[in-house]
């Protein structure tokens, strides 16, 4: 951005006065972006960091005199009995969700590249989960998975399966929210991978076919390697999206029963807002941990990309 300013400045006349004026104009053009970045990105991030490093009570939150407490909030969070399960659930939730979303999304994308009647209509239908407001889909899932009157248990009972307490049993709650999240994530993977597939030239497939490659070989030897850059970005975006999934879990199980489906995101919310007495410090600390995890994978991706 600075180099842009310099060129802008340099092209504007040679006299000092004009140069100075040009510089002002350049800054004026830059100002909206800078103000936007500072007000909506840098400052909130700084505030979140500040919140996590101070000992806040409701009183000191209002008076603004919370004492600096270093990493105390982080220590509190790490030693909390909820931390271990929340971290584990976050990892399981994210990895399992992404694995299935990607696999199913890719299978569907390959399926839809072969043009057949109604393929466009079908593809549009697969986008439905993406178009629905999350509160609608999450509420619908929680209604379908209801222990006593849900349609899923009703359907299973026809086959003689006993009532499964999808949302209210500690053994099933996490599985249930993962299933719902996979369903929501498939369209995203489908769309991006499908457009990635359009970018692979047809001649390569033809050449492979001439060489006698079977369909299976064509997928593993041509499609998969050529789709790698698109796959990587899909996985990374999916990771960041899934890491911070909060609304779906909160609507379906509130992170319960007894932390069985609590992830770092829902825990952070519960600390800060889910109680009559907000604990802003630890809440912000958990939020920052999430940011760091997402940032780590982001950097990993960038390094990977550079090496390629």
């Amino acid at each position: 951005m600075t180099s842009h300013v310099e060129t802008l400045v340099r092209t504007r006349g040679s006299s000092r006065v004009r140069r100075a004026r040009g510089q002002w104009a350049a800054w004026a053009f830059l100002a909206p972006v800078i103000i936007y970045l500072v007000a909506f990105y840098a400052y909130p991030l700084y505030r979140n960091l500040d919140l996590s490093l101070r000992h806040y009570t409701v009183r000191s939150f209002v008076q603004g005199d919370a004492p600096f407490s270093g990493v105390d909030n982080y220590k509190t969070v790490f030693s909390d009995p909820t931390f271990g399960p929340a971290l584990l659930h976050t990892m399981v939730f994210t990895l399992v969700s992404i694995a299935f979303q990607f696999a199913i999304g890719l299978a569907l994308a390959v399926f839809f590249t072969s043009h057949f009647k109604l393929s466009a209509t079908l593809r549009a239908l697969f986008l439905v989960p993406w178009l629905l407001p999350l509160i609608v889909s999450a509420s619908t899932w929680s209604w379908m998975l209801n222990s006593d009157s849900g349609i899923v248990n009703y359907a299973l009972s026809i086959f003689g399966v006993d009532q499964i307490n999808w949302l209210t049993s500690p053994d099933w709650a996490l599985t249930s929210v993962i299933i719902a999240n996979i369903w929501i994530g498939i369209p995203f993977n489908l769309v991006i991978l499908y457009s990635g597939l359009q970018g692979i030239p047809n001649d390569i497939y033809e050449a492979a076919a001439l060489d006698g490659a079977t369909g299976w070989q064509r997928f593993w030897r041509v499609t998969f390697p050529l789709l790698r850059p698109v796959s990587l970005i899909t996985l990374l975006l999916g990771l960041v999206y899934t890491l911070k999934v909060f609304d779906l879990i909160w609507i379906m199980t509130k992170g319960g029963p007894t932390d069985a489906s609590t992830t770092l995101a829902t825990w952070s919310y519960r600390l800060s807002f889910g109680n009559l007495l907000p604990e802003f410090g630890p809440g912000a600390a958990v939020g920052n941990l999430l940011i760091i995890i997402a940032l780590f994978f982001g950097l990993l991706y960038i390094r990977r990309q550079r090496r390629d």
Binding site: P32, A39, Y43, D148, N165, K254, G256, T258, F273, L276
Partner: protein, 409 residues
């Protein structure tokens, strides 16, 4: 963006960066020139044409000022109020859910009724207690609601249960057994892992004689065992673990359930169910009415830098809580009034409110007993305990012991 637009954007940013303090150095203590008073309430369902907003406007006009009113979602209001106080622009009058009063008082956001010269003598002491901490009172209840048991008459008749015989836990469980034997469903309630679940558990917890300072007492464990056994025996559905009070009501409204633990606010919906219903107080373990927690809001006056505004604020608060206006408001909100005199008027007008008035008289604030801001730290482990016991991951004794250990930290 032109220069003026840029300037405005800069001003907004500067404002964001400095937390935009609008508070001055404090004004003249006897009078204020302010003519606009802000009121925040948790009743977003009411618009400008509603009786409630008309009452607010009228109380303002009577005090010689204009009123600017904003309705927030009740779950948002606590944080909104804390943020506003941090930035020095609290509303003049804040109407807020009763367990939040002690949190805001702890934060130093609220004035006491003594400072504001608001008369609270007519208010029932058990209701006022929710707004008291360290011997001071931080607001005045606008009305109250609480929990009782709705029953479906047809289901009870089919099971040959007379609701008048339900006086204690044993007779209630016996009734549930009969209902189940008759092929119907027993009872719905909300045991969700939030404050809402704690609210629903408390009548049973207190009804056993337990005290919030000792979750794992024999009485506390007995209350949890009562709920757990209902689930085990199929008297209550497994979905209670995930039910809000609204979804639990919907289950009851479908017509198969004999009982639903729910609040005053469902009265209007009860008339729409299309079946005959009745209401009995929640029984305590040994018999008699169990103390249920009070719901309902307090009218509070947040601290202002311009203390000259207080006399007018006091007029508005007194107007809102005066006997005549309280009657209108409580009727609109489907609440029970906070004073004896108005309660009697309500019963005279609507005899079916009698059971609710009795329930409110027996009710208890969650933050009462001088618990104040200790309550949230007890409530959270408590909802963890009933979630653990009902989902079968711990037995009631273990669940309550662990909860007490977490609450005592």
């Amino acid at each position: 963006m032109n220069i003026r637009g840029l300037g405005a954007a800069l001003a907004v940013t500067a404002c964001l960066l400095t937390a935009c303090s609008s508070g001055g150095d404090g004004g003249d203590a006897t009078s204020s020139k302010a003519t606009e008073y802000t009121i925040w309430d948790p009743y977003p369902q009411f618009d400008d044409s509603s009786d409630w907003v008309k009452l607010l406007t009228k109380c303002g006009t009577d005090a010689g000022v204009t009123v600017k009113r904003t309705g927030y979602d009740t779950t948002d209001l606590t944080n909104k109020a804390l943020l506003a106080a941090q930035q020095g622009n609290s509303p003049d009058v804040l109407i807020v859910d009763n367990p939040v009063v002690s949190t805001l008082a702890e934060a130093g956001v609220l004035t006491t009724t003594e400072d504001m010269k608001i008369d609270t003598t007519a208010v029932s002491p058990n209701l006022l207690a929710a707004g008291q901490q360290g011997g001071k009172t931080y607001g005045i209840p606008i009305g109250a609601n609480t929990l009782a048991l709705y029953y479906n008459k047809k289901v009870l008749d089919a099971a040959k249960v007379d609701p008048a015989t339900i006086k204690d836990w044993a007779s209630l469980t016996a009734a549930l057994t009969k209902v189940k034997a008759a092929g119907k469903k027993g009872i719905t309630f909300s045991a969700i892992g939030t404050e809402e679940g704690s609210f629903q558990f408390l009548p049973w917890f207190w009804g056993s004689g337990a005290n919030l300072t000792q979750l794992d007492s024999a009485q506390g464990v007995a209350a949890l065992t009562l709920w757990t056994d209902w689930l085990k025996n199929g008297y209550a559905p497994n979905s209670v673990l995930n039910n809000t009070q609204t979804t639990s009501w919907q289950e009851f409204a479908a017509g198969d359930f004999a009982f639903s633990e729910n609040g005053t606010w469902q009265l209007a919906n009860a008339k729409k169910t299309g079946f005959e219903y009745g209401i009995i107080p929640i029984p305590s373990q040994a018999g008699g009415t169990a103390p249920a927690p009070t719901g309902g809001e307090f009218v509070t006056a947040p601290v202002q830098s311009d203390t000259g505004k207080y006399p007018t604020t006091q007029k508005i608060v007194s107007c809102l809580t005066s006997a005549d206006n309280a009657l209108t408001t409580d009727t609109t909100l489907s609440y029970v009034a906070a004073t004896d005199a108005v309660q009697q008027k309500q019963v005279a007008a609507t005899p079916e409110l009698k059971v609710w008035v009795e329930a409110v008289k027996a009710a208890k604030g969650r933050t009462s007993d001088d618990l104040g801001t200790k309550y949230p730290k007890i409530s959270q482990p408590m909802w963890g305990a009933f979630q653990a016991a009902l989902s079968g991951s711990k037995n009631p004794q273990q669940a309550m012991t662990d909860a007490q250990a977490a609450a005592g930290k």
